[in-house]
Symmetry: C2
Subunit: 191 residues, 2 copies
DNA sequence: ATTGCCTATGCAACTCGTTGCATAGCAGGA
DNA sequence: TCCTGCTATGCAACGAGTTGCATAGGCAAT
């Protein structure tokens, strides 16, 4: 489990309420770790009970009050321990890959629009990453350690999106080639 | 939920028992969809109840009997319907990225060996993919539709591993640069 | 005025996924 | 002989994650 650790990192970078964390998980962090507000609130309560984080009630006007959390000593210690533990292998869940293999038993052409939608959303994300890179790291020769680490993670996201775009183009070309075959395909496995 | 669909695809490619499916999920399929034998057995029972799959008892000697499942009509129909549904965006869980950002609040050097281990396991996987490609797709000009789709998924895996290896090298270079700085790093957020 | 959206937190119920354990026969090595 | 490991399936319990709903004030547009 690493949701606690992702939350700790986020709170170390900037203290915030559960609601704010949930929004961060919808944006930057969300691209390598997702969580809903339900999970976040529940985990925050547990973390507070364990003294991993400290909470402070912040009254607001015009808005509901909020509880602003920040990482506490025990949280930092837990994070340091976790960093030194061997890592769990990443669990991949690539639904589109399942669909592509499934298309062999159905009509490959039916997947084209789906893959195109994916392509567009990955292209949009790449554009957002590149824009964020320009904004946050305009001068890569003047970064402190913290920024260098954030930047290398961002570069990973950028390269992932580039790779994915190229692959989706490859997938589309394959699907179109198969469709252009006139719908004639191996039918041995069809009903 | 797509475990059902991943199982259906696997059974369409080749009927098998729960145990055999579990092993497939540890190998080829496991790289884009993971599942333990517990999940598989439970889901298979549900799928059998819904007539998505049909089971046949196969007595064996020297070994326990097994139940061999194959995809049934309702399963095929469900798969075809799922193919035409808009897809859920992939949920990424990139623990290493969390760790890298966490390293900003601890010692970046402590991550080096961890990243190196990752690098090795990705290199090994890439080698396995490339070997499998040579074995299964020696002549890419003579592939039927089914094989072309399997191949394009494999190409995706290969490109993913290549991209990841390059990124991990980038990460290692960054971590080493920071460590070579003599442990002097931004300390504004340290305890 | 009403509708809908945003901030902010939470409960309840559910499904998904993991972990530990159990059974049970057979095979192979120390 | 005992121990380990493989095939093959399963139960029980738990933790992770999702979904639907509720509250409640403020804001902006219709």
């Amino acid at each position: 489990m690493a949701l606690e650790h992702a939350i700790l990192v986020s709170l170390l970078e900037q203290p915030g309420s559960g609601y704010e964390l949930a929004r961060r998980f919808d944006r930057s962090i969300g691209r390598f770790w997702t969580a809903t507000h339900q999970q976040i609130y529940r985990v925050l309560r547990r973390m507070e009970a364990d003294d991993w984080v400290a909470a402070q009630e912040v009254p607001q006007d015009g808005r509901p009050d909020k509880k602003v959390y920040s990482a506490a000593g025990a949280g930092r210690a837990a994070l340091a321990g976790w960093l030194r533990e061997p890592v769990e292998p990443e669990t991949v869940r690539h639904e589109l890959a399942v669909k592509i293999r499934a298309a062999a038993f159905d009509d490959p052409a039916a997947l084209v629009s789906e893959v195109e939608r994916h392509r567009e959303s990955h292209a949009a994300l790449l554009a957002r990453y590149l824009h964020g890179e320009q904004r946050d790291f305009p001068d890569t020769t003047a970064l402190d350690a913290h920024e260098q680490l954030q930047h290398v993670v961002l570069r990973g996201g950028i390269e992932y999106e580039r790779m994915t775009l190229a692959w989706l183009d490859d997938v589309l070309a394959t699907l179109r080639r198969l469709s252009a075959d006139g719908g004639r395909r191996m039918t041995t496995d069809r009903v």
